[in-house]
Symmetry: C2
Subunit: 146 residues, 2 copies
């Protein structure tokens, strides 16, 4: 088992960060504008990225003030069965978001997705700090893969 791991500090209160992870409008503001479903615990959320084969289905496993856990139930083979966590910690000056995604193997696509998750988490950060989020299709292209 391998893990993608990121950490960003966001100058916004923890509930505001949580809203970015637990509402369709919130998710649309940083990951992809093409999102649908139910982001509450037990729900399923569909994220799409243009081409018909570019989608991710996440089952919402847990939501607390400390963060969110998803289980990937559809999308790229390498993603399905993986767990995605967003841990939130309120510090005096910022909310720290720690992110993980589990992978079976460190394939090239994992390298790519690691870099791309960083781009999207910084998009989330920007969207809460007076800047603009850059969800798909306005996301930064990091290679010919996306």
């Amino acid at each position: 088992m391998e893990n993608i791991r990121h950490r960003v500090g966001i100058r916004a209160p923890r509930p505001a960060v949580l809203t970015k992870l637990t509402t369709l409008d919130g998710l649309a503001s940083w990951w992809t504008t093409d999102v649908a479903g139910d982001p509450e615990p037990g729900g399923k959320v569909e994220f799409r990225f243009g081409r018909p084969d570019r989608y991710v289905f996440m089952e919402v496993v847990d939501v607390t003030e400390d963060g969110v856990v998803w289980n990937c139930v559809g999308g790229p083979d390498e993603w399905v069965g993986g767990v995605v966590t967003f841990d939130l910690e309120q510090l005096p000056d910022e909310t720290v978001l720690k992110f993980t995604q589990s992978w079976r193997d460190p394939v090239d696509f994992m390298f790519h997705c690691n870099t791309k998750w960083g781009v999207f988490l910084l998009s989330l950060k920007a969207s809460l700090e007076g800047g603009e989020g850059t969800p798909y299709p306005r996301d930064l292209q990091i290679s010919s893969w996306s």
Copy 2:
């Protein structure tokens, strides 16, 4: 052993990417402007990031057209002894840069450095694609840690 892993595609020929990794001017254009030393095989390069305790010393283990290998010989405890690799592959439309850094343990600082390496590698990419690199001290701040 844990690994940080990134992948970016750069619309520039492989020798141009290699120059960014093997010359002081190249390194100064994307990682930190405060760089000194000898970036040739067997040499040692010092990278500094402002505060006196923020530095990294890298020993250059290998340089070929396929990439660069460094061994961290000074800097944060968590970095020292770790190996950093930049693998370069020339594809028809882009040069693919795959990056790794080995860590003993997945501490919070590893989460942070993973996200920050992505920022710097995208700085490298931008510096070769007609944009501007954002080396320290112009680097994007991802949290109160830097």
